[in-house]
């Protein structure tokens, strides 16, 4: 009886399957290695604190591996950023509750809903605000401007511009409609442009 079991069990873990598992883990490791830096920068822009950003990225990695590692590798990027986006939203929500009164003074960027988007539309002939800034100054200005954006606008900008997601993937990642993504992105571009021009 024992012999029969011993012969039967390895059939579920053939060398091919073990190799496939190992390959899967290596692929997953490579994927996480490929996104971890950008994920950390995203979280850092959201929290303005590297330690908290690292905690959030770690949480996102754990959540992603636990829930989505078995999904096709082609779907990993949007799913990973969905988990990270969820963690950032949770962090932002907790932070908002904790510092509700303080936030009243720091939410000026959220008020851009009231602004005239047509008047803020960029001139296509303009080389752009970043070209007027040199080297590290441009990086610092961009960081500061991104840090001032509301969470959803910043996420829409980073996912569309940095990650290169299309509108549908961004909407799926942010769990909102494509129209919302377009609105968030449009506002983010206008706000960034304005802040960078002020900096130049």
């Amino acid at each position: 009886m024992t012999h029969t079991i011993a012969l039967t069990a390895p059939a579920t873990w053939t060398p091919a399957r073990v190799e496939a598992e190992n390959t899967g883990e290596r692929t997953l490791d490579q994927f996480l290695k490929g996104v971890e830096r950008r994920a950390l920068r995203m979280a850092e822009l959201a929290t303005n604190n590297r330690d908290e950003a690292q905690d959030l990225v770690q949480d996102a990695m754990f959540g992603f591996v636990r829930h989505y590692a078995a999904k096709p590798a082609a779907d990993w990027a949007p799913l990973f950023y969905r988990v990270l986006d969820s963690r950032l939203n949770d962090w932002h929500r907790r932070r908002s509750v904790r510092s509700r009164w303080l936030q009243v003074w720091t939410r000026s960027d959220d008020e851009d809903d009231e602004r005239d988007e047509i008047a803020q539309a960029p001139d296509s002939n303009d080389p752009g605000p970043l070209l007027r800034l040199a080297g590290s100054e441009a990086g610092q200005a961009l960081n500061a401007a991104l840090a001032r954006l509301p969470l959803r606008q910043r996420q829409a900008f980073l996912l569309r511009v940095w990650e290169g997601f299309d509108v549908a993937a961004t909407a799926s990642t942010m769990r909102c409609s494509e129209g919302s993504v377009k609105t968030h992105l449009s506002r983010a571009l206008a706000a960034l442009r304005r802040q960078l021009e002020d900096h130049a």
Binding site: A6, A9, E36, L40, Q54, Q58, P129, L130, W162, G164
Partner: protein, 138 residues
């Protein structure tokens, strides 16, 4: 808005963001690496657990079989000796095998009956007495 519809300056923004991601310090990268390894490690126990289930199950099954075998081997020998006093006192001879069987009998019955324990303590005396009777008759 397609990627091509994004303003040109976003290309520069992308480059700057890439640079900032590449410029992370060694301590931060080390911690990211540890986080990644920890996240990946949580998958491993499931697979290893599947491997460990087989030998654990086999050991458990063997132990169960052994326990059942020992129990079955003991029960048929002890059952006829439910009344050891009858075997010893009424028998014409007392041999070593009988004594061993009695000794390996149901201890719980002996413990439950105080009289039986006293009788077992005087067993040598009864055996000697029986042997004397045999000699007298012989």
């Amino acid at each position: 808005m397609n990627k091509s519809e994004l303003p040109e300056w976003t290309d520069q923004a992308r480059s700057l963001l890439d640079e900032s991601a590449q410029a992370l310090d060694a301590t931060t990268l080390s911690r990211l690496n540890r986080s990644r390894q920890a996240a990946l490690a949580q998958r491993v126990p499931r697979r290893r657990a599947a491997w460990l289930l087989l030998p654990a199950g086999l050991v458990g099954a063997c132990a169960l079989l052994l326990a059942v075998g020992v129990w079955h081997a003991r029960v048929p020998q002890t059952a006829p000796l439910a009344s050891p006093s009858a075997t010893v006192v009424s028998g014409s001879t007392v041999n070593v095998v009988d004594m061993d069987l009695i000794a390996s009998g149901d201890d719980m019955d002996l413990i439950a009956s105080g009289d039986d324990i006293e009788m077992m303590q005087d067993l040598d005396f009864y055996a000697w007495l029986d042997a004397q009777d045999q000699d007298d008759k012989g």
